[in-house]
């Protein structure tokens, strides 16, 4: 496995290496692929146990023709009918409230009850009109002889038969499903299962053969997720923070590193050694007193604690830059000094142009660090309006009422994309930064 010499690695070793790298690479890449795959699925298909690799990564989309029009549909549930059993599709003779289909009590009870929110009441009060089809099953029984529908609420209304569904409708080996029109906004987890929405949409009972399957991607997950995460606002906050920290770190670290590298003053060596030592001080140790300090300044709840400190320099980057500066040819400096430039001018006109790659690396690292930062914003930002992307995503993930994985993955993908795109544009800087860090020794 050595990389030396002119000998080409023999083919069998090469195969082994490729195999190992491919298998290893899968471990690294598969989660990202999974993230994107989940982000394009509807919620119900995310939560199912995947039966095969294809269903794990690709959602199945269903299409069916209902009443002459083709719709994208979802399969609400399978219909199991024994011999002689049947379901009925009926239309009510008169309108009634949608809640009567799903609630075991009637409008008189829910009207006087305080236990429902206004939105729930709206959904329950919405009218099921004679133009809509109602599924008469074990919850809402239909008596064909009397032409009456016994609603779940207990009331009995007159209803006309549209169609009688028996097991015969399913060709042998196929299952019948209740299919319902699916609209892109359904991917938002709120407000999907209201009783009114269920009858208002086009729906039917169809066997497998009349439901066309195909791959389904739901790009609509993305706008919905981004809205729930307040993406533009969070992105703005994050970018603002990144701008401030990058400027601060770069300017301060370059200036200070210049001082350590080229200027002499008493105590320079000791101070520099101290700087190195502070790299080892973990954040946890200073976290609380720093928080209390910001609190007494009244800065908790603003962005200031997150970027002001960076304008004073960063030990690690100061070290890196100083090492780099020390490696630059001295004569340029001397020449500039002879020309009568001040130190700042030397820094700006001579050193900085020579150090562009390293400075780019410092900027990149800082940008990455601030983009990813979680603990800082968690402690210092209290108002939702100020949340950065990390906080917004975490707040979204910990909301009540079940985790909407598909939306979460969509938001995560968008959150990670900028860095990956940045990587591809600045690959050289990344790789070089890695090499320089490695040289630290």
């Amino acid at each position: 496995m050595s990389s030396v010499g002119e000998k080409k690695t023999p083919w069998h070793l090469r195969t082994v290496v490729h195999l190992v790298l491919i298998v290893g690479g899968l471990f690294f890449i598969l989660p990202l692929v999974w993230m994107i795959a989940t982000s394009l699925k509807p919620l119900d298909q995310t939560l199912m146990r995947p039966e095969s690799l294809t269903t794990a990564f690709f959602a199945t989309g269903y299409h069916a023709t209902i009443n002459g029009t083709e719709y994208p549909v979802t399969r609400d549930r399978p219909v199991e009918l024994g011999k002689g059993e049947s379901l009925y599709i009926v239309t009510p003779a008169k309108a009634f409230a949608a809640g009567e289909l799903t609630l075991p009590f009637g409008p008189d009870m829910w009207k006087k009850s305080v236990s429902f929110t206004d939105e729930e009441r709206r959904q329950m009060d919405a009218n099921v009109t004679p133009t809509m089809h109602v599924l008469a099953d074990e919850n809402n029984r239909y008596d064909p002889a009397a032409g009456t529908l016994s609603l779940r609420s207990g009331r009995v209304v007159r209803a006309d038969l549209v169609r009688r569904v028996t097991a015969a409708e399913a060709p042998p080996g196929e299952t019948l499903y209740v299919v319902r029109e699916w609209r892109p906004e359904d991917t938002d987890t709120k407000g999907v299962s209201s009783p009114f929405v269920k009858v208002e949409r086009a729906w039917d009972i169809l066997p497998d053969s009349r439901i066309r399957t195909g791959p389904k991607v739901i790009p609509n997950n993305y706008p919905v997720a981004l809205r729930r995460v307040h993406f533009t606002r969070s992105l703005g906050n994050t970018l603002l923070l990144c701008l401030m920290t990058v400027c601060g770190t770069v300017i301060a670290s370059v200036v200070v590193a210049y001082g350590f590298a080229y200027l002499e003053f008493p105590g320079r060596k000791a101070l520099f050694a101290l700087t190195l030592a502070t790299i080892m001080v973990p954040f946890v140790v200073t976290m609380i007193p720093v928080y209390l300090m910001y609190r007494s300044l009244g800065w908790v709840g603003t962005f200031k604690p997150l970027w002001v400190a960076t304008w004073f320099g960063n030990a690690f980057f100061i070290f890196l830059l100083r090492q780099f500066f020390l490696g630059l040819p001295k004569d340029l400096l001397d020449a500039a000094r002879i020309d009568g430039c001040t130190e700042l001018e030397i820094l700006w006109n001579v050193i900085v142009p020579l150090s562009r790659p390293v400075i780019a690396m410092v900027a990149l690292f800082t940008f990455l660090g601030t983009w990813k930062d979680f603990l800082g914003p968690l402690i210092y930002l209290n108002h939702e309006k100020q949340f950065t992307l990390s906080l917004s995503l975490q707040a979204f993930a910990s909301e009540h009422g079940g985790t909407p994985w598909h939306l979460l993955m969509a938001a995560s993908t968008v959150f990670s994309l900028p860095l990956i795109i940045l990587f591809f544009f600045a690959m050289k800087t990344f790789m070089r930064s890695v090499a320089t860090t490695g040289l630290k020794g």
């Binding site: 790298l21 690294f28 140790v285 975490q394």
Partner: protein
């Protein structure tokens, strides 16, 4: 004299931001934290000196002990594993084959993913019902069990009654290529420089590995049937049971989850190792070859010592990092089943911001700092013997 003064002032002027930063953001908090650790300090009132009471309480706090245990277990497993994996990866990435650029990008990508996304994504991957990991494990074990099942009777083994079957004897066939490649007949059969021999060697290795897999599988089914059953579909983040069951100080399934998640990010370390690998002077390898070293010997005697400074750096940084792990367990498990993923950094955060006991939290932070310093000193002391700094 004024010239000198001016020079000094300019110097200080340039370093001034850092001096101020050092004072306000590092020195003052450092000593303040030390002082607070000896105080009782509810954040709305002021600090009140109480001597070492906080430390005494620390000694008997079972949750603190649990967090220390969790963090140590994590460090003890994740750091060596990480170094091993990162180094192996670097060695493989260093091989002269096509497509290395693509591989390197692939392995580096996860490092670019923000911490919160990593936590959320892996929380989803670890979902026992619908997550990716259990899906992959299902397929993996279908294959592995099928393979082991070819030679052994798994059900009877798990039941404790199984023993060797005649089919197990087939495994001995794996030794054939090994014999052909390295055995006593080998020198007679092959001419030197023969093409067939290295190929046979590779085939032998593969065959032995496969046979070993079957045997290991059988042994596991025989002696740890409970674990084997569990591993087909672990509960991951919700499961507080230790794995392997019965081993003292074994991490819980939830902690293993966090360990695996942190392995996902070793790409950056691997690339750093890779950069250092490529800096190893060629002459050293050539000298080693002249001395008759094979690739294993070369790796041990040349490659590893040359990159040992980076390994040391990595280990020290990882130790410090392990004591600061916060975002992942905070988002994924909030301390986990029965505090089994409560890391020390989370404990400090909880004590300070949730139970408003800043004094106690500062005491914990102080203890942490001492532990980190001690571990780092140990690492440096050990390194004196093993780490080789090249003359520059």
């Amino acid at each position: 004299m004024t010239g000198n003064l001016r020079k000094n002032l300019t110097g200080y002027g340039f370093v001034l931001p850092w001096l101020m930063g050092l004072t306000f953001f590092i020195a003052y908090p450092f000593f303040a934290a030390g002082y607070f650790s000896f105080c009782d300090f509810p954040p709305m009132k002021g600090p009140m000196f109480i001597g070492g009471d906080n430390y005494v309480e620390l000694l008997s706090d079972p949750i603190f002990h649990r967090t220390l245990g969790v963090t140590t277990m994590f460090a003890a497993v994740a750091i060596p594993l990480g170094v091993l994996l990162a180094m192996s990866l670097a060695l493989f990435l260093n091989a002269k084959i096509h497509g290395q650029a693509i591989y390197r990008v692939v392995f580096y990508l996860p490092h670019l993913v923000p911490t919160v996304v990593v936590a959320v994504l892996w929380m989803w991957i670890f979902n026992p019902e619908a997550g990716l990991l259990n899906l992959v494990l299902r397929y993996l074990f279908a294959v592995a069990d099928g393979w082991t099942g070819l030679f052994f009777d798994i059900d009877r083994l798990a039941g404790g009654t199984g023993s060797l079957t005649p089919r197990a004897g087939l495994l001995l066939l794996a030794l054939v290529p090994a014999l052909l490649a390295w055995g006593p007949l080998a020198r007679k059969i092959h001419r030197p420089e023969s093409r067939a021999r290295p190929v046979l060697a590779t085939v032998a290795v593969v065959a032995i590995v496969l046979a070993a897999l079957a045997i290991v599988g059988a042994l596991l089914y025989r002696f740890a049937p409970g674990d084997m059953k569990k591993i087909h579909s672990p509960g991951w983040l919700t499961d507080g049971d230790p794995f392997p069951a019965g081993v003292p100080f074994a991490p819980s399934w939830a902690l293993w989850g966090i360990i695996i998640m942190s392995m996902w990010g070793i790409g950056q370390m691997a690339v750093i190792y890779l950069a250092k690998l490529q800096d190893v002077p060629v002459e050293l390898y050539e000298a080693a070859e002249i001395d008759g070293a094979g690739w294993w010997r070369k790796t041990i005697s040349v490659t590893i010592p040359m990159i040992s400074p980076v390994i040391l750096f990595n280990v020290v940084m990882s130790i410090i990092g392990a004591f600061q792990v916060f975002a992942a367990p905070y988002i994924m498990t909030q301390g986990g089943p029965e505090n089994k993923t409560r890391f020390v950094a989370m404990f400090v955060y909880d004590q300070a911001f949730q139970y408003h006991r800043v004094g106690y939290a500062s005491a914990v932070a102080a203890v942490l700092f001492l532990i980190i310093v001690a571990l780092t000193l140990v690492a440096f002391r050990l390194s004196k013997r093993h780490v080789h700094y090249s003359a520059r």
